[in-house]
Amino acid sequence: MRTAALAFSWAMAILACLFLLAPLLVIAAASLSPTPVFDLPVGGASWKWYGRIASLEGFWPALWLSLQIALLSTALSLVAGTMAAVAIVRGRLPGAEAFAAALVSPLMMPGLVLGIALLQYFRGVGFTASWPALLLAHLVVTLPYVARTMIAGLSRFDFTLIEAALTLGCTWPQSVLRVMIPALAPSFLVAGLFSVLASFDNYPVSIFLTDVRTKTLPIKMLQYIEEAPDPTLAALSTLILLGTLVLLVIADRAVGLSRMAGTAE
């Protein structure tokens, strides 16, 4: 009975892994398609689509915009989220639990609803510039990931270590910089990674805040797929996937994927 249950759970895990990887493998194979219609290469493979990535119209500005927004909103969320997490975990903050719940609540929020709410709001206050609107919107997207991870990370941090550092002659800034920040480094990494990915792939919030010249990468990609798809997009996606794979290997070495997954609840 127990063996059967174990075998069943292994079967499901392997099935889930193969099923999850299937679309990624299809994209990688389609990027080598010899014809423009996404045939999986049966006869010969062709690298020509990779050569065309650079000439994709509007892709580099979109990629650059997405990177800017993702990195900036993550940096700001890390600062604001960590400060709030310190106040929640350590401070005598009135209503700390309610505040923690409120910080995480945008996670459960349908992206489209947040998108139209912000569109309406920005219009209402006469705020029409697309770039800052996108950045502000992505703050709401990224802050919950950072807050959740940093609250979990800080509740495992032993604050007496700071007092110990003080006793040993460190000044306050020194003890925070040399003791607290290094001890929290894995949490910063996990929070930052989730936050960058959440912003970088965000479609439903961004779609309402873009204008003709300011389009993020996901918006450009969906537009491309709907208009005239060819394997160039698959080539670009494969490169992004390879980049992500490298990031994951680094994260596994630095923090361990198991610890990263442990923050998922």
């Binding site: 392997i14 999850l20 990887l21 401070g91 459960m108 309406q120 925070v176 990609m221």
Partner: protein, 293 residues
């Protein structure tokens, strides 16, 4: 501010100061916009009934909840969410046990299988399914080649395709929260139950299920609220003919410029998402208590 940190636990003002920026973001960019959205959804439609000036009106909600087409969109969203949640739970729950019990390299490999797709763009994954499922696609080629079917099976633009794609996108959101709980679980717990005379089924129902309930609930809440509001996957895998709440919202804002109607659809979607989260946490509380009792 860092210089003030030692007094954090004694000084409320510092705590308030520290939570200031995040609080401000929440208030100015989350709470206020949502309040405004609610107000917009109650706006009277332009050119309404004669004599009815501008004011509050439930017209947008009435239109959404009485027109068969729009009611169908609400139903489609709920149906998709329910189907995806059930399937991801049936596959993800047992799978997370194997991943949590796996050793070293195997565990990292399987977690990598979860993280890599999670990091891949939803758009790219949905697009990959259109390649896999179309008439001249991989699955049909294999089926034809093996002689299982004589003519290509129409899969793309069907509800099945939509569910397959959505399960693929949302499965990691079910496995990860359950894994987070199971990984902290002591495997000796179920052995102890067995020693105390519980048969495996009773041991599972009385011990394992209740203690893993927080993970299940987190997963169910995440997957159901994400899939009820999915936009990209239905757009690519089933298209225009299958209206959902999300596509209704997008259309109202991006095409037909009817903010009041779009806002009303947004409020309905929000209420459904919040109801799912609240309901699932209630259920987990009850099962958890009964399990321990």
């Amino acid at each position: 501010m860092i210089a003030l940190l030692p007094r954090v636990d004694r000084d409320r003002r510092v705590a308030l100061l520290l939570s200031g920026p995040a609080g401000l973001i929440l208030l100015a960019l989350f709470a206020l916009p949502l309040a405004l959205l609610f107000a917009v959804s109650l706006q009277a439609p332009p050119g309404g009934p004669p004599g009815g000036g501008p004011g509050l009106s439930l017209a947008a909600y009435e239109r959404l909840l009485t027109t068969p087409h729009h009611l169908g969109a609400v139903w489609n969203s709920l149906k998709l969410s329910l189907a995806v949640t059930i399937i991801t739970l049936l596959v993800g729950y047992p799978a997370s046990f194997a991943i949590a019990r796996a050793k070293g390299g195997w565990r990292s490999l399987m977690l990598g299988c979860l993280f890599l797709p999670l990091a891949a763009s939803v758009i790219v994954k949905a697009f990959a399914w259109t390649i896999l499922l179309r008439s001249s696609g991989v699955i049909n080629t294999v089926l034809l080649g093996l002689g299982i079917v004589d003519a290509p099976v129409r899969m793309i633009f069907t509800e099945t395709a939509l569910i397959v794609g959505a399960v693929n996108v949302f499965l990691p959101f079910m496995i990860l929260p359950v894994f987070a709980v199971v990984a902290q679980l002591d495997p000796r717990l179920s052995e102890a139950a067995a020693t105390l005379g519980a048969n495996p089924v009773a041991g599972f129902l009385k011990v394992t299920l209740p203690v893993t309930m927080p993970g299940i609930v987190a997963g169910v809440a995440l997957v159901s609220s994400l899939s009820v509001s999915a936009y990209v996957v239905p757009t690519l895998l089933i298209g225009e003919r299958y209206p959902t709440l999300a596509s209704t919202i997008a259309k109202a804002y991006l095409l037909s410029r009817e903010p009041a109607f779009g806002a009303a659809a947004g409020v309905v979607l929000l209420v459904i998402a919040v109801a799912i989260v609240v309901l699932s946490s209630r259920v987990s509380g009850r099962v958890g208590r009964e399990g321990r009792a």
